[in-house]
């Protein structure tokens, strides 16, 4: 309770709030909470802000969108479609685009925000992975993040199917095909999802309640959990002078972080406004209403579904086989298995890595990607695997663009599906090790000074200067994971699983560049000092 009575209006309002909700504790707790600043920490913010914009613009759209598949004949202002039979959903999407003032703008902003949301989520997840931010105590939040990506894909898919246009209708047709391919119950699931035969008259209203209620409610809940974890764990930070495992260095929420983050929200909002004003996305009026017979060439889904569609393109038909006449359509439902593989792999990696390296400690200082070559290489392999499938979803367009045979294009994707990740793993690991060697070089011999000296026997050399202690700390203060051979358990025996762990760990962690130690550096300086001294003797007076 304050000792003096407030006199200003703000003061009175503050006291009113304080006496009813105890806001001072909140401000005390969070007002000076520290957020480290680095561009890579803003990716999650981009996702969060796009989500806020999605909710705002989406609510606007619900005021006019009619989630119904009753048939109507279009009589609106868009001439090319006048007199065409279509569903109410499609007609109302056209009305939002052409008759509601600002409707086109908001519709485009909703779609652009969805594309940005998924892009930000994906890149944010990559940042977490490559810096090892998923390590204890953040493994659970990493899992929560994966759930967010899956929910985001769900929100995107249920959303872009709503206008009932030709493109999204073909997308639903593919979903129908995948459902029907599920062994034993597929046909029934398809009939239950679509309310009978495809396309039926129910799917749009069903997707609508998922899209505007169930999925966003889940998203909001899971985002809340994600953020509570971020606050509770406090943010990770990059290695740097003064940064330790026991502190977090950065800017306080009030006022610095609030000003920057608030401004950043408006910048994202502005960016989406720019895109929506000047660049068309999803022009459903060009596609026409859904009709099961036509389809346009070059058809592809929104980018974040592309990798699964791409996989459907590269899997060969012989993977469908029959057991006693019953089909196992691996060429169809394996796209779901591939998704399971990706998200499952992401989910178990933190635990696999901890198990392999026997590192179960807390980590709040991030790894520079090069300082954990194995993890970075595994991540790069995953990214290449994903991107190859993703590119395959545009294989037909690429074939046209590069004047290549469509079939060759798909053969290339098939080969890269297996080979790409392996190459990416090997190359990335070697690049990381090389970069670590470069860091060693810089630490041991100092930075380039730009001063060229000439030795008496004619050799030119560049003089190197030692790093200052802050930079030295940022470069040298890391732990390098190493291969731990199989160790006996409490019973004095080496268990089978421990042997297996050691074998895997050896494959993954045997190649390593040891970090520079202080004594190594001193030894190097010592040698270097002697050389410098002798050079000085030789070059008396020639030094600048």
């Amino acid at each position: 309770m304050s000792t003096t009575q407030p006199t200003t209006a703000v003061g009175k309002a503050a006291l009113f709030t304080e006496n009813r909700v105890g806001a001072s504790r909140l401000v005390k707790e969070f007002g000076r909470k520290i957020f480290p600043h680095h561009w890579s920490f803003m990716l999650g913010e981009v996702a969060l802000y796009s989500f806020v914009i999605l909710v705002l613009t989406g609510t606007f759209l619900t005021f006019w969108f009619k989630p119904a598949m009753g048939h109507t004949i279009y009589e609106g202002p868009f001439v090319p479609l006048q007199g065409v039979e279509m569903s109410e959903a499609y007609a109302s999407t056209l009305a939002i685009s052409f008759e509601i003032r600002g409707g086109l703008f908001i519709r485009q902003m909703h779609h652009w925000a969805a594309l940005l949301f998924m892009a930000a989520l994906s890149i944010h997840a990559m940042r977490i992975f490559f810096t090892g931010a998923f390590r204890r105590p953040r493994e659970v939040n990493w899992l929560v993040g994966i759930v967010l990506i899956v929910l985001g894909m769900g929100a995107g898919f249920t959303g872009y199917s709503l206008p009932d246009d030709l493109l999204s209708g073909n997308g639903l047709r593919i979903i129908d095909g995948i459902l029907k391919a599920i062994p034993l119950v597929g046909t029934y699931i398809s009939f239950f999802v679509f309310g009978g035969e495809f396309p039926g008259v129910d799917i749009v209203s069903r997707l609508y309640s998922l899209h505007i209620m169930v999925v966003p409610a889940l998203l909001i809940a899971v985002i809340a959990v994600h953020l509570i974890f971020v606050v509770y764990h406090k943010h990770t930070q990059w290695p740097g002078a003064g940064h330790t495992e026991k502190n977090v260095v950065g800017e306080p929420v009030l006022p610095t972080f609030a000003a920057k983050a608030g401004g950043f929200f408006f910048m994202i909002f502005g960016l989406l406004a720019l895109l929506s004003g000047f660049f068309t996305t999803n022009p459903v009026w060009n596609y026409g209403p859904y009709d099961p017979s036509p389809v346009s060439a070059g058809t592809q889904p929104d980018w974040y579904i592309g990798w699964m569609d791409g996989f459907l393109r590269i899997i060969p038909g012989w993977t469908e086989f029959y057991i006693f006449g019953y089909p196992i359509s691996f060429n169809i439902f394996s796209s779901v298995l591939v998704a399971g593989l990706l998200f499952g792999g992401l989910a178990i990696w933190p635990f696999v890595e901890a198990w392999l390296t026997k590192d179960y400690r807390e980590h709040h200082i991030l790894d520079r990607p090069r300082n954990n070559p194995t993890r970075t290489a595994v991540g790069a392999a995953g990214v290449v695997w994903y991107l190859n499938m993703w590119a395959a979803a545009s294989g037909d367009l690429m074939a046209v663009f590069f004047h290549m045979s469509l079939n060759d294009m798909i053969y290339i994707f098939r080969v890269l599906f297996f080979l790409g990740p392996v190459i990416a793993y090997i190359v990335t690991k070697r690049v990381c090790l090389a970069l670590q060697r470069k860091d060693r070089e810089i630490i041991l011999h100092g930075r380039e000074s730009g001063q060229i000296i000439r030795l008496p026997h004619g050799e030119f050399q560049e003089r190197h200067k030692p790093l200052n202690e802050d930079r030295l700390w940022s470069l040298a203060s890391f732990e390098s994971p190493q291969y731990i051979p199989a160790e006996p358990g409490p019973d004095g025996k080496i268990s089978k699983i421990e042997k297996r762990r050691a074998k895997l760990a050896r494959f993954f962690y045997e190649d390593r560049v040891a970090p520079v130690t202080k004594s190594e550096l001193e030894a190097a300086h010592h040698d270097h000092g002697e050389v410098e001294q002798s050079r000085k003797d030789e070059l008396t007076g020639s030094q600048q």
Binding site: I34, V84, R173, E251, F265, F278, R313, E320, I410, S477
Partner: protein, 348 residues
């Protein structure tokens, strides 16, 4: 110096890694706006400028609502959309850039260190929590009364079962719907009119020239209860190819008419319309996943993810010279499904 002392007060612990000692937070280097009042004033004016730009953007949005009121042409709608975009971009970006500039240049830029707390509770917390849980266990008797516990678990476990019944009406059972289409003996082939409902236009065999392809629907489809559901199964692609180029299976000799052949347009992979016909090679290509079917060999799959050939619709010419179906498709159309081989499709 001072900032290092400040840091120490905030509890930053020096650490050693690889023998190196953490040098502690570097001293804050003042920004231009921290030391030069002139620069501070300039920055202040710049930030205010961004906020004013934002206001201009908002006003522009409002003005363009009236100034660029669209008539019913696409160009006018597009123009207004662009002007809205311009106004909103300025309005939002102005606020954003102004705030970020403010945060970066005028608000204190000193980095602050905050201590982390242990994630887990301390021993006392853990002891108290354990005690509470034990107390709850004792007071409820959940451990002592296995009968109550087990019956409760069973009751909760089966309580959702009725939901399965309630959701049963999400859709009808498939029945024979996967095995039948609108095609049948004597059903005439009609040109697909696209989205505009029109009188059925039947097709005369002699009108189909060699090399042409026609998108076909069954007669009377628009009068059926769910035309789109029917079309999703019954869509057909009709082509006429020089009979010499066709390798016709002797058993299906009479399924075409002088090189006119009709195949289901629904891909056997995941159901996209196989809409691209290559005249030179007589290949049908699915634009969704690039399954390729060879029309000269009864639409066998020659490339891509599909497994089964496109079903052929046996056709004939009726007494008036129009193309008609001899019967329904001899096998199910569209994507593979579990029961696909469980019954013959109807002969009628």
């Amino acid at each position: 110096m001072t900032s290092k002392q400040h840091t120490a007060e905030h509890g930053t612990q020096l650490e050693q890694v690889n023998g190196f000692t953490n040098p502690g937070l570097p001293e804050h280097t003042p920004r231009l706006t921290d030391i030069s009042p002139a620069a501070e004033r300039t920055t202040e004016r710049q930030i205010a400028g961004w906020f004013i730009l934002s206001m201009i953007g908002t006003i522009w949005f409002i003005v363009s609502y009236f100034l660029f009121a669209p008539d019913e042409t696409m160009a006018s709608i597009q123009l207004q959309n662009m002007m809205f975009g311009l106004g909103a971009t300025l309005a939002l970006f102005g606020i954003g850039v102004g705030l970020v500039l403010w945060g970066k240049t005028l608000v204190s830029g000193t980095e602050v260190a905050e201590d982390r707390h242990p994630i887990e509770g301390n021993e006392e917390d853990q002891a108290v929590a354990l005690e509470i849980l034990n107390q709850a266990k004792d007071e409820s008797g959940i451990a002592r009364r296995p009968l109550l516990r087990n019956t409760l678990i069973a009751a909760v476990a089966i309580a959702p079962l009725p939901a399965i019944l309630v959701f049963r009406d999400l859709g009808p059972l498939p029945g024979d719907k996967m095995f039948t289409t609108l095609w049948g003996p004597g059903v005439r082939l009609c040109q697909d009119p696209g989205g505009v409902p029109r009188e059925d236009r039947f097709i005369r065999a002699e009108d189909v020239t060699i090399g042409s392809a026609v998108h076909v629907i069954p007669e009377g489809m628009h009068e059926s209860e769910h035309p789109l559901d029917e079309k999703a199964k019954a869509a057909v692609l009709l082509m006429r190819i020089d009979p010499k180029e066709l390798n016709t299976d002797p058993a299906k000799e009479d399924w075409g008419v002088d090189g006119i052949v009709a195949y289901s347009k629904i891909c056997t992979h995941v159901g996209c319309p196989v809409a691209l016909y290559e005249h030179q090679t007589h290949h049908l290509l699915c634009p969704c996943h690039q399954s390729t079917f060879d029309v000269t060999n009864h639409c066998e799959v020659i490339f891509g993810p599909a497994k089964r050939p496109l079903p052929q619709l046996p056709i004939a010419v009726d007494s008036e010279g129009y193309l008609v179906a001899q019967r329904d498709f001899p096998e199910p159309v569209g994507p593979t499904f579990w029961e696909i081989n469980t019954r013959e499709t109807s002969e009628q």
